[in-house]
Subunit: 140 residues, 2 copies
DNA sequence: GAGTGGTAGTCTCAAAATGAGACCAGCACT
DNA sequence: AGTGCTGGTCTCATTTTGAGACTACCACTC
C-alpha cells in the first residue's frame, strides 16, 4: 500500500516538529508553515491557482470559469494570492481597462506539490465519496 | 486497497479538464475533485491530519497540541475527517471513556501528497513572508 | 461525603467570513 | 439614447467560526 513510502522518502522524525518549526520558539499557534498552508487552503485559492497554472486569465474569464464564486470573493482571493506572491496582476490600458492575472514563479513552484494533491483527489475521490455514503448510512 | 497513488501521469493536457472532470458533464461547480480538495482545505483539517500522521492522538491531546482551536471546531473537523474516511475514531471503555483518533489507510495515502505541500511551505515560507511585506509596503 | 480534577463533548451567544445582489464610471457599438 | 462590457466596490443577509459556560461520569483526595 502507499503508506510504506512515508518514512523512507521523507524522513520525518517528528512531522509536527516540521510543521511547527519556527523562529519564535515553540508556539504552535503562529508557525510560518501553518501560516503559508492556511493562506492557500481557502475555499477558492487552490481552484484559482489551478486555473492560472493552465494559462493567464482575465477577471471576467475567471468569474465565468468558476460560476459559483461571488465577484466579491474572486476579488479578495486574487488579492490575497497576489499579496502572498503567487499571482501577478497586470492592468492593460484597453478601452474598458482589462486586468490579467497570472502565476508568478513562486506560484508555479507552489503549484507543483499542490498538483500532487489534486492528482490524489482525482484518483481517490470515489473512495472518499464511498466513505461518506457508508458513514452516513451507519449514522442513520 | 482502493487507495491509488501512481507516480505517473504528469502530462496534464488541460489541468482544468482534470479538475472539473466529472460524470455530470461539464459543470465546474460540482466536481468531485474539487469536492475532495475542499474537504481537506479547511482551516484545521491539514493540521489535524498532520498531527495524526505522526501517531494516534486522543481528543484532549489534540486540543493541547493545537492550542488555538476551539473544542467545537476540533469536534467538528474530526467528525468531517472521519466522515470522509481519513480518520478512524475509537472509543475505549476506560473509566472516563477515552477516544482515540488515528489515520486510516486512505488518510495516510492522502497525507503523502499533502506532505509535499507542507514541505514546500517549509522551504518557501520566507519567500511568502517577503512577498507580503513587499506588497504591503507598495500599497502604503 | 464534599470537593477537585480529568474524560469528551454539547449548547448558546457573539464575532467574523462569506454569499447575493445592487451600484459605479468609462467607453464602444447600434 | 440605450445597451453592453470592463473590473470592481458597497450593503445587507446568511453561514461559519470563536469564546466560554455547561453536562455526566467516575476516581481520587480531604
Amino acid at each position: 500500500m502507499g503508506v510504506a513510502m512515508d518514512s523512507k522518502i521523507f524522513n520525518l522524525k517528528s512531522k509536527l516538529e516540521v510543521y511547527k518549526a519556527m523562529p519564535g520558539g515553540g508556539n504552535f499557534a503562529d508557525c510560518p508553515v501553518r501560516d503559508v498552508i492556511q493562506g492557500i487552503s481557502g475555499k477558492w485559492s487552490s481552484l484559482l491557482v489551478m486555473a492560472l497554472a493552465e494559462k493567464p486569465y482575465r477577471f471576467g474569464e475567471l468569474r465565468r470559469l468558476v460560476p459559483d464564486i461571488s465577484q466579491r470573493m474572486l476579488t479578495q482571493t486574487l488579492y490575497d494570492l497576489q499579496r502572498d506572491g503567487y499571482v501577478h496582476r497586470e492592468v492593460f490600458p484597453t478601452k474598458p481597462p482589462s486586468v490579467e492575472y497570472s502565476l508568478t514563479d513562486l506560484g508555479r513552484s507552489m503549484f507543483a506539490p499542490l498538483q500532487m494533491l489534486i492528482q490524489w483527489a482525482e484518483l481517490n475521490h470515489y473512495a472518499v465519496r464511498e466513505a461518506r455514503v457508508a458513514f452516513d448510512a451507519a449514522q442513520a
